[in-house]
């Protein structure tokens, strides 16, 4: 028996709920045969309002059960990022599959155009960098759950700009590693102003059992465009909902890249603050 699933599910605000059910469920590792898909091009490309160089990572997808986290890099690709002011930067491959800009300066409000030509195929993406939204304050409240779990509710306060259509991603960086297996470690903290446009936002990030008093937490508030939000949101659905059997059939995230590539290209502005947990 394992109540872990339900603990996570409850945090995610889904079905958990039937407290009685929690005590019944159990899980075990099984073997499943999967058909291996053809390797696909994977692109991870960002431009920020911080100083360059900005990085584009190109790799290929692998077989699902192959016991390796090594994904072959895509080398000798032709990669450019241009902005709407006419600057075009041709990226240099410093390490296999890792490409860096040299002249580009990320700026708020500008639009960026990514082009990757690799193995005879061309992939394009567009992203616009929204203006930076500063974090006003960070507040962390500690509590202990009835089951003994340590919970930190971390509140990120900021003022949403008056015009609608703002999208955010919050990144936590900690001086202790967050287990990659945990949903808390994989989850994206995303926020949009659909219901709260123009207001003071208080976004709660609920962290269970991963922080201790005295830990230092860096919080980045990324202002992202709608396409990037859509990507991270649909990616987050895959990463967090796979334990909920009632969720709809999973699908690959909605990417802004053309030609069937996996991954994303995001231009975003960042504001950061640090808090020491009490």
């Amino acid at each position: 028996m394992n109540s872990r699933f339900f603990r996570h599910a409850r945090g995610a605000g889904i079905a958990a709920t039937a407290l009685a059910l929690a005590s019944f469920s159990c899980q075990k590792v099984i073997s499943v045969d999967l058909n291996n898909a053809n390797p696909q091009m994977v692109t991870e490309a960002i431009v920020t309002d911080g100083p360059g160089p900005y990085t584009v990572l190109l790799s290929r997808s692998g077989d699902y059960f192959t016991p390796s986290l090594y994904f072959p890099p895509v080398t000798h690709a032709f990669v450019t990022i241009a902005d709407n002011l006419g600057v075009t930067d041709t990226l240099k491959e410093t390490v296999s599959g890792t490409y860096h800009t040299s002249v580009l300066h990320g700026g708020q409000g500008r639009t960026y155009y990514l082009r990757v030509v690799a193995e005879g195929k061309e992939y394009d993406a567009i992203s616009t960098m929204p203006p930076r939204v500063p974090i006003d304050t960070l507040v962390a409240l500690h509590s202990r759950e009835s089951d003994g779990d340590q919970v930190y509710n971390l509140y990120v306060f900021f003022k949403d700009p008056p015009e609608p259509g703002n999208y955010y991603r919050m990144n936590l960086r900690v001086n202790v590693p967050i287990s990659p297996d945990s949903i808390d470690g994989r989850r994206y903290h995303l926020y949009n102003d659909k219901l709260t446009n123009g207001n003071e936002a208080a976004v709660r990030i609920r962290m269970r059992n991963y922080f201790q008093p005295g830990d230092t937490v860096w919080v980045d508030l990324l202002s992202i465009d709608k396409a990037s939000y859509d990507y991270f949101n649909t990616l987050n659905n895959i990463l967090t909902s796979d334990r909920s059997p009632t969720s709809l059939a999973p699908a690959n995230p909605n990417t802004n890249l053309t030609n069937g590539a996996l991954g994303y290209f995001a231009a975003f502005s960042v504001d950061s603050k640090i808090i020491v947990l009490q």
């Binding site: 709920t17 898909a37 334990r243």
Partner: protein
């Protein structure tokens, strides 16, 4: 072919008449042409002698006339027109003693029959020659009636009897998930089931996030499920009708009954308002686990609330021989609060007012006014900055249904129906300290009208036809705005409409046809064709019934769903109708099914229609059923082989994929055994092919996360599901009993979900993990009846 005396039959003219166009019947002299002998009508109500409850589907047989009889309708009324003479009538209903009556029919007469329940016999197997053969002889097919006795005997999870779980044991019906009340009928979607409680639609039939239904089986008299050959009087959903009727209340005596189980406590009170003229019934049910949470010293736990309740109330009054009125209502609420994490409330409210009137002896009318409302509220955020998201749907529905019993072999049904829908797609109510802005999406209004006519007759002895037509019309009405989208989902046009202005109208003709040919006294073949139209669509971010599910109307952007279904079947009874068996084959084609673009946000979304993708689906299969309804040993064995597929332009690269509910094999074995006056046992075994699911075909690394890569929708199968449940009921004297049940007796570890994760000790390895929801679970319930 049985021999037949034609002088007892209607004239040849009658046989030809119904072949004329449908409308023509209204112009005909309904008494028909010249007949050899003058005909008279006997009519009346068939009741339970013990409590005065009208019996639905009881049968009056004229012993002297071959194959002549009438069955009582949903209000216990029957009418039969036959040549004058002396006859012996046999009135029969399952589980009741056959009543024999000699009558002299020399004029139109009223007979009200009261049948006495058959006592439970000990050590004796009752074989009477009067068992009903209606499953063979009637034109009804793809339809099953559940006896409440069966519902109460069959073991269920945690001992809470549930009709929505019991119907999942019938062929052609598939469960939406373990322990779930959602169901698929012949490959149709969860939203394609018309669920009626005293003729009022129930928009969300689930409690406790789908683990229990809103139907308290103590309050229910009759349950009929129709998955094919849907009669013309039903409309608005594609795939099935579940017609649930509540008890009228005891006309003779006051009584209280109830019970207490692991989940809920129940109490029903009923009795006469005026003896034999009017009665009432009030039935309530509530879960009580939350009472214990209140005792906790933990402030999070004692603020947690987790309960639901149901209240059914009904009253009826007979105004003379010809009129009867009924008032009934249902109120149910769920409350699910875990402070600062989740706060959900949802519930249905319905009300029904009905007036039965009998014109002459052959015309039965029912006029009904129903109200139905579903509301959902989600409390978001912590107590200081909380805001509420609400959505819902509300219906006001007026209808008149008429039944004309022309003669022993010809019956008409016709009626009209108008529904005014109000859709509340979502609003946010924010307090002064809340971070949210209060906003309310425009309500949508629609008028759904329908008229139908159906005629059942016997053109040749042993050959019955039921043909009908339902004409339906749906108009989206102002006030409101419409949005027009381009292919990318961007708004290209907006139009405003005033109050009462028609925004968009869809009209459909829905032919309904079924026919039965009697091969001999115990076997028949039947065929049916139905077209159904559905103007409402359920948007859900879950594969099971969820409180946040949103009903939306057809509009300029969303077309109605349509289905065409053909079914043929062979029916045969054995051992003097003691055993019923059937084999049915069906093919169903469904158009304009709804799916969503990936990542669609269904909550508070004014451009929700731009996220919908319309596609098609089809299902075909074979259903086998052998059933024994009466005797010490009763039950059924059902087997379904089926295939269900879907195709959407933007999903799975536009290629055909198996629907989630595509389950090749589905087996149910249900047995109920009365050992003696004290003990009753039952057992259920189910087996089905696993759901079609989507598993990854590879993975990749992005943003320091290992991400699965999906290539084919529903390309994999969950392991097969099977389970055995047992139940024993021990009668503690006349007035009470104890029910013991065991769910999943052999502790099968069925897969509820399979997910993939990185191995904890070696993160380079990925492993598949199976979640089992319910291992072996015993339960006990106490029931009483005073």
């Amino acid at each position: 072919m049985p021999s037949h005396d034609h002088s007892d039959r209607p004239s040849a003219g009658h046989r030809i008449l119904p072949l004329l166009p449908l409308i023509a019947f209204l112009c005909l002299d309904v008494r028909g042409g010249a007949t050899a002998q003058e005909k008279f009508t006997m009519s009346g109500i068939i009741k339970n002698a013990e409590n005065g409850e009208a019996l639905i589907g009881a049968y009056v047989v004229v012993k002297e006339l071959k194959n002549v009889g009438a069955s009582s309708n949903a209000y216990g009324f029957f009418s039969l027109t036959i040549p004058g003479g002396r006859y012996t009538l046999l009135v029969q209903y399952l589980g009741f003693r056959v009543l024999a009556d000699s009558i002299d029919l020399t004029r139109d007469r009223t007979f009200n029959f009261a049948l006495a329940p058959e006592p439970i016999t000990v050590g004796e197997v009752v074989v009477s020659g009067e068992r009903s053969d209606r499953n063979v002889t009637s034109t009804v097919m793809s339809s099953n009636k559940l006896e409440i006795r069966e519902v109460k005997s069959i073991p269920v999870l945690l001992g809470e009897k549930d009709i929505l779980k019991t119907i999942q044991l019938l062929p052609g019906v598939q469960s939406a998930g373990e322990g779930n009340t959602g169901y698929y009928a012949r490959g149709g979607g969860l939203d394609q089931n018309l669920i009626l409680l005293d003729e009022a639609p129930i928009y969300n039939p689930s409690h406790a996030l789908g683990y229990l239904s809103v139907f308290n089986s103590d309050a229910i008299k009759d349950v009929t499920l129709i998955t094919g050959g849907i009669p013309a009087e039903y409309g608005g959903r594609l795939s099935s009708v579940l017609d649930i009727r509540t008890n009228d209340g005891n006309m003779k005596d006051y009584g209280a009954s109830g019970g207490i189980g692991l989940l809920a406590a129940r109490l029903t009170i009923q009795g006469p308002i005026v003896k034999d003229e009017g009665s009432f019934m009030i039935s309530g049910r509530r879960t009580y686990a939350d009472m214990f949470l209140k005792l906790s010293s933990d402030t999070t736990i004692n603020r947690t609330s987790l309960y639901f309740y149901d209240l059914n109330a009904k009253a009826n009054y007979t105004l003379g021989e010809k009129d009867r009125i009924y008032l009934s209502g249902y109120l149910g609420k769920d409350n699910l609060d875990y402070p600062d994490v989740i706060g959900l409330r949802w519930g249905n409210t319905t009300a029904t007012a009905r007036w039965n009137h009998i014109f002459g002896d052959q015309f039965f009318s029912n006029t009904a006014l129903t109200f139905s409302d579903y509301q959902y509220t989600n409390l978001v955020g912590t107590s200081t900055s909380q805001y509420e998201i609400t959505s819902g749907i509300k219906d006001i529905n007026g209808k008149i249904d008429l039944q004309y019993f022309m003669n022993a072999t010809s019956m008409f049904k016709f009626g009209v129906n108008a529904i005014y829908h109000t859709f509340m797609p979502g609003s946010v109510t924010a307090g002064p300290t809340s971070s949210a802005n209060s906003v309310s999406l425009e309500h949508r209004y629609a008028l759904e009208n329908a008229a139908y006519v159906a005629h059942e007759f016997e053109p040749l002895s042993g050959f019955k036809i039921n043909y009908g037509l339902r004409a339906s019309m749906f108009s989206l009405m102002g006030p409101g705005h419409t949005l027009t989208y381009d292919e990318y989902g961007d708004i290209i046009d907006t139009a405003g409409y005033g109050s009462g202005k028609v925004i968009k109208t869809y009209a459909s003709f829905e032919p309904r046809f079924s026919a039965t040919y009697l091969i001999d006294e115990a076997s028949s073949v039947k065929g049916s064709y139905t077209r159904t139209a559905q103007y409402l669509h359920l948007l859900s971010n879950s594969t099971t019934a969820n409180p946040s599910d949103l009903w939306v109307p057809s509009s300029n952007n969303v077309k109605p769903q349509y289905a065409d279904q053909v079914a043929i079947g062979y029916y045969r009874n054995f051992e003097e109708n003691e055993f019923e068996s059937s084999l049915e084959l069906y093919y169903k084609n469904m158009m304009n099914l709804i799916d969503y673009k990936n990542g669609s946000d269904l909550q508070i979304n004014p451009t929700i229609e731009s996220l919908l993708v319309l596609g098609r689906g089809w299902s075909y299969g074979a259903e086998f059923l052998i059933r024994k309804r009466a005797g010490r040993l009763s039950g059924w064995v059902g087997y379904t082989w089926s295939k269900t597929q879907e195709q959407f332009p933007l999903i799975n690269n536009g290629t055909v994929f198996p629907a989630r509910q595509d389950r090749t094999h589905d087996i149910s074995v249900v047995t109920i055994y009365d050992l003696n006056a004290a003990w009753n046992f039952s057992a259920v075994w189910v087996y089905n092919t696993g759901n079609a699911v989507t598993f990854p075909g590879g993975n990749y690394w992005i943003d320091n996360r290992l991400v699965p890569y999906y290539t084919e929708r529903n390309g994999y199968r969950m392991p097969a599901y099977h389970r055995l449940d047992l139940s024993a009921t021990w009668k503690l004297g006349e007035r009470s009993n104890l029910n013991f049940s065991i769910y999943n007796v052999y502790n099968r570890m069925n897969a509820y979900a399979i997910y993939f994760r990185q191995n904890r000790t070696d993160p380079t390895r990925t492993e598949a993990v199976q979640i089992t929801l319910f291992p072996i679970i015993p339960s006990v319930t106490y029931n009483f009846n005073y």
